[in-house]
Symmetry: C4
Subunit: 281 residues, 4 copies
């Protein structure tokens, strides 16, 4: 009954390899099944909202919902078990998402009729980002994220300018067309200005008078031209962002990802990465 | 009655040159007539769907349909005849399209009222890509294809992020506005989120409440800004993709295209390219 | 009464300088007045189409129309007079536009009720491109034109692919939704597919069924992503197109524009450019 | 009662540092409070236009409006007081905006019912650009502004071409569809052409006839393709625009901004920048 401490260690390492990494065959299968379960559980939430469907197959959906919740609960506990610093994982972004994926179903037992939990349940879809690890796309994703981060400030300046523009144009339109033509208040006129400047153009509110249509034309041409600005920003940053491949390893201690393929120690907490992989596989 | 084997060889080579290549005068004329027939036959399918038109000229359309089908059948058989590996051609992408272009009309003789064949018939339009060979655009097309292939992974990451966004925003909108304002289910709300994020903006479903319009504004500005991402990806790949001209020759053995202008042998199967062109023309 | 041939020469050169160039003070004033007249005459055509306005001020508009027509006629004759090869000018692009700007008004005297001439009259607006000469924007315009010409083939390939896509998707939608939901024929469904793929999204026809909305979502995301392709093409060409300033001189013999500032002879017909400018100014 | 001239000088310098700069702790706090007040005052103007809200809380909004006006008045006077050349500030862009932010409320005391002042009041939002100083974004903003200025001429050529296109296409559509289908005049048809070319697509006016839809398709594909042009222009300019950080210092004499971090003297008027910062802080 006395399990040697070393065997536990090895078992935890093996579990960590399967659950958090995708370098081994078992780890890949685990991830494939996980992704499919996530997609299926999101599908269940969606179908549940289609009244015709839920009226007919509600009982089945309910059972599937519990099936996935229990499955994700086991997975969550296993993740907690095999990580060296469970709290670090529990409070990381994906850790919180993992918890939010199972909590709403339990809560719904005690708080009846809480349909607001539906959105929390849908957040499960965020877990799908784990797929990057599976298909070795971490490198691609991190290039994109780095380019977006680098252009963060320029995009902020651009968005600030866009907001000032829509506030001024929205107010102008409120004056020109007024409540008679659907521009009932400045906030609603600003909503219209955003719909127009971003070239979405619902048509739920649209200018009817001649000066209104002239101003609208101006906003459209402006929106058509200044879309060039974020594009130019991201393009020039993207061509700067260097490209390098990143391993799928996750630090067993601090949960950090994005280690380079030849890394032996975690670059954030100096914990040794994956000693078993080197020895056993 | 004994046709020497060599004469058959020469004839097949000549046929191959005319049908599959556009370097000779006969080959060019063949391609021009083929393209015009393809466009005309697609036009016939389209006009057939206009009820006012088909009621009046249905008989003529029917005859033209059969004319083109027989013509394409002859062409298909000739292609099979002059290729060294008929099966290789028959199962290639354009080979399957060539077969699909003639099959539906024959099937419609036995399976009455099968209007679903209309889309299969329209697939004929894919054959129009043969036009690239005619106008020496293979090089341009392959640069584009190469750039798109190189940015495949980044585009996938982007599309995955977009899908996660629309699922979350769609669910949020379902909560905020609900069935009362047209957001009858989560799938429909996701459809609305896609319509909005991609700046299409039909206006068949549009937010009516203030918080709904605020969320919609957020999605629009987001969609307006992140369109910069695929653009940046493709632009940086396109400027990397090298440019070189490519011949219109097709290997008579393995059907491979994209040979360089000075190539004498197929770079994929080492078959001699076009021996006649070098000797006869 | 005998005007010396040399004086005529000098006068024609002077006229050419004023009318066709913008390097001298008189030439600049001529161009400014011309541009304003063009804009005013286009405005007259526009206002004439507003029924409320033309009912009231129709007589004034009619007089202005004739005023501009006579003015442009005089200008056209002067252009013919001072160019060395009048036929070359008359059949050049801007020469034809200049003629089309005056013809419709005369024709309307003999052919009553010909409202179709209205569009020909509006073509006057093309003359406004002469403004480039005035503000020294020929260089900018030619860089853009050169970049667009260089990317002509790639854009063609892209547009062909887009057309094949909308034909296939339009036909699919015709099958899925059918005449019951507004998709009355394949051509109309293709029109809808174009409206959707280009992210215009009128909403005059929109999918109602679930599979239809799913297909529409696919087209939207596709259209949102592939807009990156033309952008990437033009961007990479634009950064290649070299930038150099170009003079506003026009060859008095062959009407060619785009000469470099230090050019003494026309690079197309070897005619001496502007001898007076060098001597008189 | 005799305040020594030097003490006044020091006080003015200190005030200048707080109000116009964001390098000191007091300056940062001043700017944070100012930005929040600006946003709050714009919010007050917006809410005032929502009839349901203003009917209920009109009195509160009125008081807040006066609170912010008085606050901004004090700020404006202080700015005038601590600048060496008050007139230079008063007639600078931000100086005029500062004045316009307070004027309308005073004017409304004498000119009753002047709802047109609402837009002038909303111009307050322009003051928010002062935020750039706070967050050290002047560098980012100036890179964008420089890139836009550099591409000014090319964008002008592009916009001119777009306007010529929409005028011609609008007139054509007026002929094809005519007043029967909503295209009541050429200006309105041009409005429709702009809505379509910029891919906004309200759907308030949309083609109904077959030739009309064919022309509309052409305009859409054109608009979809030529959006690549401004994007290409801005992108190539942005990658050229050099990047350097800029200090938040403002010259106490000529109000010029954009000095480099190690600048000791104003690069425009040679005035010493911020002598106190060097001595006191």
């Amino acid at each position: 009954m006395a399990v040697p401490k070393e065997a536990v260690q090895v078992f935890r390492h093996r579990l960590h390899e399967i659950i958090f990494e995708a370098d081994t065959r078992a780890g890949k299968w685990f991830d494939v099944i996980l992704i499919l379960s996530i997609l299926a559980s999101v599908l269940v939430v969606m179908l549940d909202s289609v009244s015709a469907f839920s009226a007919r197959y509600g009982a089945y959906l309910y059972r599937w919902e519990w099936f996935f919740t229990l499955m994700f609960t086991v997975e969550y506990l296993m993740r907690l078990a095999c990580v060296r610093r469970p709290l670090g994982y529990a409070f990381s972004f994906l850790g919180v998402v993992d918890l939010l994926a199972i909590l709403p179903t339990y809560v719904s037992l005690f708080v009846p009729g809480s349909q607001y939990l539906i959105v929390v349940r849908v957040l499960r879809v965020l877990r799908v980002f784990r797929v990057f690890k599976l298909v070795n796309y971490i490198g691609e994703a991190s290039v994109l994220v780095r380019a977006l981060k680098a252009s963060r400030r320029k995009i902020t300046v651009f968005l600030l300018a866009v907001h000032v523009l829509v506030i001024i144009f929205g107010s102008l339109m409120y004056l020109i067309e007024g409540p008679k033509y659907g521009f009932t208040s400045i906030p609603r006129s600003i909503y219209w200005a955003i719909v127009t400047l971003t070239t979405v153009g619902y048509g739920d509110i649209s200018p009817k008078t001649n000066p209104g249509q002239a101003l609208a034309s101006l906003i459209m041409v402006l929106g058509y031209a200044i879309i060039a600005v974020p594009t130019g920003i991201v393009t020039s940053e993207l061509s700067l962002a260097s490209r390098k491949t990143v391993s799928t390893q996750v630090c067993p201690c601090c949960m950090a990802e994005g280690h380079e393929p030849d890394a032996v120690f975690c670059k954030f907490c100096s914990e040794r990465l994956n000693p078993e992989t080197g020895q056993d596989t």
